[in-house]
């Protein structure tokens, strides 16, 4: 158990992990289990116990992710959301992730009742053939009706997820996907290139990721099409209209602390990054935390750059100096000079950010910065 130090401001964000899914998607490497009613009920009991144990006051953002939170039956889902509700500040953001196949009117009513005000829907692809091939049990038509039902129920802060670079996808397919996604008219879109992670079915099947040139071409199309449609790419893979950013995810991207609860969840408290156990057995026995790692001045700076430079607006010079006691431009003078020959940075009077090219080569840039952290 990690206890807060008295004089520290407590985290403003809370993440809750629901590991259950009706089906396992082939690309997924998150902590997930096939839904089982008995275990799910026990899980919720223990999750509520874990929540209590943290003595969390009020937070600005709550995010219930998975797995598939909507795979839970209504009563279990409601128990969790009701327990979370009192922890949300006025004007706070309360997001629940949902899968097209099990988001229905009843669940949306429960969300409303519990104060949920943002829904993140996993659409992933708009090609039915592709959806089938990644083991998603819904069609794009289902997605269209779920999104409109969500809107009808009074939710206007909606995100949809899309994956590109799936095996066999062409640039034309991507264009169609983008047109279809835009037709949903939601304020937030997350688009990720397929990463074949260890632990996913794709990895075990030997599926390869797109080559760099194709991936870049796809990415450039995405950015230009979404910008044209009025979306701002505020983070490498995230697009928002009218500044309806994911406030919760911005906590991560600004490298701020947060609570993480549930099976396999990660948290960041009092300069300690921790990860909960991924073993359901241990979790149910209330052995929550699996690993802890105290950040060092070096790792903290590395994490800060890794996260903040993902944002199109980067970070404020002043914030960096306040947090690390050094001037970014002084500390990284040599790297900036060498990288800026190729215009990877775009430095304004107040902020440090990467250019479009820099964002696309972020890891390349980070490795160079890390040498000086």
């Amino acid at each position: 158990m990690i206890h807060l130090k008295m004089n520290k401001p407590s985290p403003k964000s809370l993440y809750i992990h629901i590991p259950f899914c009706a089906h396992i998607c082939k690309y997924c490497d998150f902590t997930k289990l096939i839904y089982n009613e008995e275990f799910a009920k026990k899980y919720v009991d223990v999750l509520l116990y874990e929540l209590d144990s943290y003595h969390i006051g009020k937070v600005d953002t709550i995010y219930v992710g998975g797995g598939t939170p909507t795979s839970l039956k209504d009563s279990d889902l409601k128990r969790i959301l009701l327990a979370l509700k009192p922890h949300l500040n006025d004007g706070g953001e309360f997001t629940v992730e949902a899968n097209v196949e099990n988001l229905d009117a009843n669940k949306l009513d429960i969300f409303k009742e519990c104060g949920v005000n943002r829904i993140s829907i996993g659409v992933e692809s708009t090609s039915d053939k592709m959806l089938q091939s990644i083991n998603r049990h819904h069609t794009f038509k289902d997605a269209v009706s779920v999104v409109s039902l969500t809107k009808e129920k009074g939710f206007d802060n909606i995100n949809v997820d899309l994956i590109y670079g799936l095996p066999g996808q062409s640039l034309e397919d991507l264009k169609t996907d983008l047109d279809n996604i835009l037709s949903l008219d939601v304020p937030h879109i997350s688009i990720y290139s397929l990463i074949v992670e260890k632990g996913s079915m794709f990895f075990n099947m030997g599926i390869k990721e797109q080559d760099e040139n194709t991936s870049r071409e796809f990415y450039e199309l995405i950015v230009s099409k979404l910008r044209e449609a009025g979306y701002e790419r505020y983070e490498i893979s995230n697009f928002a209209k009218n500044k309806r950013y994911s406030r919760h995810n911005l906590t991560y991207w600004k490298d701020e602390e947060y609570y993480g609860l549930g099976l396999g969840a990660s948290g960041y408290l009092n300069k300690v990054r921790y990860k909960n156990t991924s073993s359901l057995k241990k979790y149910l026995a209330k052995e929550f935390i699996d690993t802890k790692e105290e950040v060092t001045p070096t790792s903290e700076m590395e994490d800060y750059l890794l996260t903040n430079l993902r944002l199109e607006k980067g970070f404020k010079k002043e914030d960096f100096k306040k947090r690390f006691g050094v001037d970014f431009e002084m500390k990284f003078k040599e790297v900036i000079t060498s990288l800026n020959k190729n215009s990877l940075f775009s430095i304004s009077k107040d902020s440090i950010m990467l250019s479009d090219e820099g964002l696309i080569l972020l890891d390349f840039v980070l490795v160079k910065l890390y040498e000086y952290c």
Partner: protein
């Protein structure tokens, strides 16, 4: 006070690599109760981490033991460990010169190997009493009788009294100790003669200066004496003498027959070299002891600090290392690509490897090594001859009449079923056939003259894979022969990189060139622009590969839980970068400079 030499035995253990030399030394240490079981680390004489990790002995190491023999007397044993690899035969001869006898360990499952022979000859040269020890007799595949027969027939040493032991279990080791007492002659120095002590090793201690390890042949030395290093003709005041058990144990005096250490505030490392004789300034010996035959380094490479600010640290470290590694030579050199560094000479590749690792571990240096080279004799049209140890320094082609390269005479012992493949390999390596003879019923000795550069290149690895590891190998320098040789340059982004130049045999230059550029393409990380890699001979490009520019390099997703994982991924890349050297606008990893070596020419 004079020590009765009757009760001293000075001996070494010699063996082929892996025949159990260090394990036997450990058992002896245990049985003489020099080291309690509690203190016992495996292979205690292998004091370098490197030695323990690789399971090989690199440096000789001496220890004094007390043994209570069955005749009722206490004996002082000085056991001097020796390395078993061909690269280090020089170290073996150093240990042997300090002894009266040696234990010859032969693996009962393997029999006599090429290295066994080489070491035995060294012992015979030093007039040592040799006691054969048949080790690993506890293994089911042991054939002690056959092995004894082989030793008698092939080496000519009687095995009537050979000990059968298992160093692993300790079986028979007590008998070995009795044989040491009975069969190895006691030293017979003259206590009253002027001091003559042979330096066989030394190391640096930041408080006491250079500590020298000596065998006192005649006379004695005590604290307060003024000693003289005879070749250097420098005098020093002795501050401490003692023996190593293996912990240092101070004594008042070391006298004839003993092995021990002397500290005399010797600050100038260059004064001390193995084979030097120590005497007393007040009553000097008339002549020095016969020193060692100096071993000339055979393999050279450039050694550069990754961080050019560390040049002086590297110099300091090389000086200290060479103190107890007499066969390591170094000389300042400059490379356009790598800056200031040293051209270093080694006995062989393993030696080179070991020096690199010691410099990195013991002195915390990050190094770049260039591809190893041998010494070429370059005859100029004007009649002059240049000894070339750095390929990039090859003079202009029009001024060269002929290039000669060093050859070695290699003896390869192999089971007869591999004779075909081994000869095949030797032919491929431009070998000149000398002889083929039966060693025993199942094994043959193949003799070839081979270019040393081919041995350096990948001969060992090839030999191992051609014979499933059954062949053993020894070589000695044989002379220079002219060859059809050229300098191959490697160009990065159009610029020749001097540190990557090598001398190649024209017959396979194209092949080697294309493999090198392909390898470099794999190793050199992509940059933001395309980088062509070319191999050229006499300005003519013979091979090319292009390192594609990096187009997209970003993690798709980054949420809370991912951060540590992604950071670790990036840190790994960062670690890799530490060993990179920026050459022009291209960052080149350390291993790139060795690619010319590590490539397989039969891909």
């Amino acid at each position: 006070m004079e020590i009765d030499q009757k009760y001293i035995r000075n001996f070494s253990i010699i063996a082929h690599i892996d025949h159990g030399k260090s394990t036997l030394a450990d058992r002896i240490l245990e049985l003489t109760e020099t080291i309690s079981k509690r203190e016992m680390k495996d292979q205690i004489l292998d004091s370098m981490d490197l030695e323990r990790e690789r399971g090989i002995t690199i440096k000789l190491n001496a220890v004094t033991l007390k043994y209570h023999a069955k005749d009722g007397h206490d004996y002082m044993f000085n056991l001097i460990d020796t390395p078993g690899h061909v690269d280090f035969s020089y170290e073996v001869s150093r240990s042997l010169a300090a002894c009266e006898g040696c234990l010859l360990v032969v693996d009962a499952t393997q029999g006599v190997e090429a290295q066994t022979l080489a070491n035995v000859y060294l012992a015979v040269d030093n007039n040592l009493e040799i006691i054969p020890i048949i080790n690993k007799v506890d293994l089911p595949s042991a054939m002690p009788e056959l092995v004894k027969d082989e030793i008698e027939k092939r080496i000519g040493i009687s095995c009537a009294n050979a000990c059968e032991v298992s160093a692993k279990t300790g079986q028979g080791v007590d008998e070995v100790l009795e044989m040491v007492v009975r069969d190895i002659p006691a030293p017979n120095g003259d206590y009253n003669a002027p001091l003559q002590a042979l330096i066989f090793d030394s190391y640096y201690d930041s408080y006491r200066g250079v500590i020298i390890l000596v065998r006192i042949k005649n006379g004695s030395v005590k604290v307060g004496d003024t000693i003289r290093l005879m070749a250097a003709n420098h005098d020093y005041l002795v501050t401490e003498v003692g023996i190593r058990t293996p912990k240092e144990l101070k004594k008042n005096e070391l006298s004839a027959g003993e092995v021990g250490y002397i500290a005399a505030q010797i600050k100038d490392i260059k004064d001390v070299f193995p084979g030097e004789t120590v005497t007393l300034a007040t009553n000097p010996a008339k002549e020095a002891l016969p020193g060692y035959k100096r071993m000339n380094p055979m393999v050279f490479c450039g050694l550069y600090p990754v961080d050019s600010k560390k040049y002086l640290d590297l110099k300091d470290a090389l000086e200290k290392l060479s103190l107890n590694d007499a066969s390591l030579t170094f000389e300042a050199e400059t490379s356009q690509a790598l800056g200031f560094g040293f051209r270093c000479g080694f006995l062989g590749l393993l030696h080179m490897d070991v020096v690199q690792e010691r410099l990195e571990r013991e002195y915390g240096l990050d190094l770049i090594l260039t591809a190893p080279s041998v010494i070429y004799h370059v005859y100029l049209t004007k009649g002059e001859m240049i000894e070339l140890d750095n390929p990039s320094k090859l003079p202009d082609l029009t001024t060269i009449r002929e290039i000669q390269e060093p050859f070695v005479k290699a003896s390869i012992m192999t089971p007869k079923e591999y004779v075909g493949p081994v000869m095949d390999l030797c032919q491929k390596k431009r070998g000149i056939y000398i002889d083929l003879e039966y060693f025993d019923d199942t094994r043959m000795i193949i003799s070839y003259e081979l270019p040393l550069s081919e041995i350096v290149y990948n001969f060992f690895d090839k030999l191992k894979s051609y014979t499933k590891g059954y062949a053993s190998f020894d070589y000695e320098y044989s002379g220079y022969h002219a060859g059809n040789l050229s300098k191959m340059d490697i160009l990065l982004n159009g610029e020749p990189i001097d540190a990557l130049s090598t001398i190649v045999y024209r017959g396979n230059a194209y092949e080697r060139g294309s493999i090198v550029v392909r390898k470099l393409k794999e190793i050199i990380p992509r940059q933001q622009f395309e980088v062509p890699v070319q191999a050229a001979i006499n300005g003519k490009v013979i091979a090319r590969a292009d390192i594609k520019a990096v187009r997209k390099d970003v993690l798709a997703k980054c949420y809370g839980g991912d951060i540590t994982r992604k950071r670790k991924l990036l840190e790994k890349q960062k670690e890799g970068k530490k060993r990179m050297k920026a050459i022009g606008s291209v960052e080149v990893p350390q291993e790139a400079f060795m690619t010319v070596l590590s490539i397989d020419d039969e891909e």
